[in-house]
Subunit: 138 residues, 2 copies
């Protein structure tokens, strides 16, 4: 039997004025503030080459999510049909990964000011990727 679970680790954490899921907009275009990404010291070397003005993708671990949900009403609207979580952007899903495309606004040591970002304060960050000009997900 091949391995089917893996260990993922925090490389940093979000510091935001958004304190809870209830405060957070459902999508970034619904209004989201700037926030700070604090990268843990063990990983700061990995930031070399990121500069103010770059567009980056943060992958977060949505630690408040429910992982045992496979279907839901999109946007918690009971009038919308039950939909598979993989056809939605709900944080509730088996592996609660969040994707956030943000601009780098300021860099101060191991801290990046980024935005706009709908993730709440304390959200763990597990990866950072550049937006490539022709990348498949940019």
């Amino acid at each position: 039997m091949n391995q089917t679970t893996y260990t993922i680790e925090q490389i940093g954490i979000i510091r935001s004025e958004l304190g809870s899921r209830e405060d957070a907009p459902r999508q970034v275009y619904e209004g989201a503030p700037h926030a700070w990404l604090q990268v843990h010291s063990a990983f700061t070397e990995g930031l070399k080459g990121i500069a103010v003005g770059h567009e980056i993708i943060l992958i977060t671990w949505l630690h408040k999510a429910q992982r045992d949900i496979l279907k839901l009403h999109p946007r918690r609207n009971k009038n919308r049909p039950l939909t598979g979580v993989f056809a939605t952007r709900s944080p509730d899903r088996p592996n609660p990964l969040g994707l956030h495309r943000v601009s780098v606004l300021e860099i101060s040591g191991n801290r990046l000011k980024v935005g706009p970002l709908e993730a709440i304060d304390g959200t763990p960050v597990v990866d950072i990727k550049p937006v490539l000009p022709r990348s498949a997900d940019s």
Copy 2:
């Protein structure tokens, strides 16, 4: 001390003609085939609402990657300066997550034909998300 590691689990696996990292194009626009995503039966309910013609983002776990690398020469080209992994799309990074935007070409039970996809055969899939018309990362 808050939790800083998490367990992520396979929800499916890629079946592709690409057998190894050496076969795989570095970026999808450099030529990549279609492939099948086999979703494990415990998670197939989560697919409800995904249809042929949709654009989706697969998040993979790049199981052949080296996780202890923080800087590298982009595209393994020694003439390019050492760069932090978070400023590159290298699979070698602390949490080897891959992002792949693909089209859904065919659906057969728990199997989705998708493409183009540069991930190799046997790559674990850990999440699927819809591309939203105005999403931050689409």
